[in-house]
Amino acid sequence: MSKFCSLKEAVQHYVHDGELLYIAGFTHLIPFAAGHEIIRQGRKDLVLARATPDLIYDQMVAAGCVHKVIFSYMGNPGVGSLRIVRAALESGKLEWEEYSHFGMISRLQAGATGLPFIPMNQTAATDLEQHNPAIRRVVDPYSGKEVIVVPPLQPDVAIVHVQRCDANGNAHIWGIIGEQKEAAFAAKHVILTAEEIVDEAVIRSDPNRTLIPEFVVDAVCRVPYCAHPSYTQGYYDRDNTFYLAWDKISETPDEVQRWLDEWVYGVEDRAGYWEKLGDETHRRLQIKPRLAAPVDYGNY
C-alpha cells in the first residue's frame, strides 16, 4: 500500500480487532474522523489509551468497539461527566487502567524513548498505586529514597493529527502539542492525518516546527477538518456548542444511537460529515488569522 492514502485505507490496513490504540491530542488536534472511520469499519475489542478519553472514546465505546480504556482524566472537558464511559465503568462492562496525567504521559515518554520505565517523585497519594499494579516503586540508587515508576506504553497504532505535513509524513505542529510526538515515537505504527499536505520545501523552511519525522510514520492521510468538534489551532475553532450538546445526547442510549446513525454510519467520510454540518457551523468555527513574527534561519 502507498504511504499516502485515504483514511479508510489506513484504518483497513493498520487497525485490527483487539489492538491497543492511542488516538492522540490533548483537547487540541483530536482526530475524530479516525475514530468515526474505525466505528464504520466495525473494529472490536480495542484497548483505547488516552490521557483524556474525550468524546471520541465515548463515541467508540457507545459503538461497541472497545474492551478496555487506559486514561488519566475521564470527563467531558469543561462540561462535566463523560457519560457513556462512566456508565460502562460503573456497570462493569468496560475494563479500565488508570493513572494521573503525569503517570500516563510518563508511560508514553518511556515508550517513545525506549526506556524500561520512567521514575517520578512521590506524591504521598498512594490509593491509585494500590489499585494499579503497574505503578511501582524502586529505590533511587543515588539517594536511597523510593521513587514511583511506570512501564512503557507502546501502542500497536497511534493516530496523530497535525496542521501540515509533506507526503512522506514530516509533520509541523503548533499550538497545544500535548503528547503528539511521544505517541508517534512510542507506537509500532503511526497513522498521520493532516489538514494540509504541503511541499517538502514548506517543511524544510521551518525545521524546528517538525515534531514528527517521516521515518516513524506509516500512513499519511489528507483529512481537512479531521478534528471537529475538537480543533486545529489556526484553522478552525473548538466546537464548544457540540461538547455541551453531547452532554444531552449522551444522556440516553437511543439518542446516542441516532446520533451515530446520522453522523458516523450515515456519512461516507469526513468530507461528507463536514458538508453535512452546514454553512452556519462552518461560519461559527471560522477564526481570524494571528500570524507569528517570521524567524530567520539564515542562508548558509
Partner: protein, 255 residues
C-alpha cells in the same frame, strides 16, 4: 451594600489569596476567573500556567476547556504535557495550584476518583488528571468548593491527591516540594490547616454563622481562636468579574 452570588464570593476571596508574581497552575472555571481578577487588581505580574502545556496565557475569551485555543494565542510559551509536569511542576517552578474534587476531608485530602469501592464504583468521577502531582509539588494549594456536608466528610472514600494524610508529620515524611492545601475557600468561609494539618475554620463570610458552617461539615470542625470576617466583594471586583471576565454568567451565576 452590594449583593453577590456564592460563586462571586468564592472567586473574590480566592483571588485575594494570590500574590503578585505568583506562577499559578490554573484550572478552568472559578480558578481561571480568580487569577484573571487578581491580575486586573493587585497581581498584575501573575503568570497563568495550564496543564495543557501553556505558560503565561492571556486568554482573550473565557475558556470552556483547559485546552482552549485562546490560551495559546499570545502566551509566552507552549510545551508538551511531559514538559509541563516534569520541567515546570516536578522541578518546583509552580507557586500555586488550584484543586477541586467531590470530597475534601478533615486533613485536606481530596477525592476526585470514586464514591464507593474503587473496583465497583457507586459513582465514578473523572479521576486525577493533574491533581495528584499539583497537590504534591505546587508550593501552595488552594481549594475552592461550595460548603456542603457530603463534600466535607471526615475521611475521603479515595485519596486522589494528598492533603496532610492523617496528620502533617506524615506528609512531611514523604518529602514533597509543596506545602499542601493552605486554604479552602467555600461559600460560607475559609478553612486552613492548623499545626497538626487538620482543617479548622479561620474566617466567616459576612452574615454567616459558625453554626451554619458546622451543620455543613462532616466532622466536628474546630474554630480558630481568632475568627476573621472576610471583606465583602468590592464594587470594582464585581465589576471586573461581571462586565469583563464572565459577562454571560457561565461560571458566576451559580448561587
Amino acid at each position: 451594600m452590594a449583593t453577590y452570588s456564592s460563586s462571586e464570593l468564592m472567586c473574590v476571596n480566592a483571588a485575594r489569596l494570590l500574590r503578585d508574581g505568583d506562577r499559578v497552575f490554573v484550572g478552568v472555571g472559578l480558578p481561571n476567573l480568580a487569577c484573571n481578577l487578581a491580575m486586573r487588581t493587585h497581581a498584575p505580574n501573575l503568570q497563568m500556567i495550564y496543564e495543557a502545556g501553556v505558560i503565561g496565557a492571556r486568554p482573550a475569551r473565557l475558556p470552556l476547556s483547559i485546552g482552549d485555543p485562546t490560551l495559546v494565542s499570545g502566551a509566552t510559551a507552549v510545551c508538551s504535557m511531559y514538559d509541563i509536569f516534569a520541567f515546570y511542576l516536578q522541578r518546583g517552578n509552580v507557586d500555586v495550584g488550584f484543586l477541586g474534587g467531590a470530597q475534601i476531608d478533615r486533613f485536606g485530602n481530596i477525592n476526585a476518583t470514586v464514591i464507593g469501592e474503587y473496583d465497583h464504583p457507586k459513582v465514578r468521577l473523572p479521576g486525577s488528571g493533574g491533581s495528584q502531582e499539583i497537590a504534591a509539588w505546587a508550593d501552595r494549594c488552594y481549594i475552592i468548593t461550595p460548603h456542603q456536608k457530603r463534600r466535607f466528610p471526615e475521611r475521603v472514600d479515595f485519596g486522589t491527591s494528598a492533603g496532610y494524610l492523617d496528620g502533617r508529620a506524615r506528609r512531611d515524611a514523604a518529602g514533597l516540594n509543596g506545602k499542601g492545601p493552605v486554604a479552602v475557600v467555600t461559600d460560607l468561609g475559609m478553612l486552613e490547616p492548623d499545626e497538626s494539618g487538620e482543617l479548622v475554620l479561620t474566617a466567616l463570610h459576612p452574615g454567616i454563622t459558625v453554626e451554619q458552617v458546622l451543620a455543613n461539615t462532616g466532622w466536628p470542625l474546630k474554630s480558630a481562636a481568632k475568627l476573621r470576617i472576610t471583606e465583602p466583594p468590592g464594587k470594582e471586583e464585581l465589576h471586573i468579574l461581571r462586565d469583563e471576565l464572565d459577562p454571560q454568567g457561565i461560571y458566576l451565576k451559580g448561587g
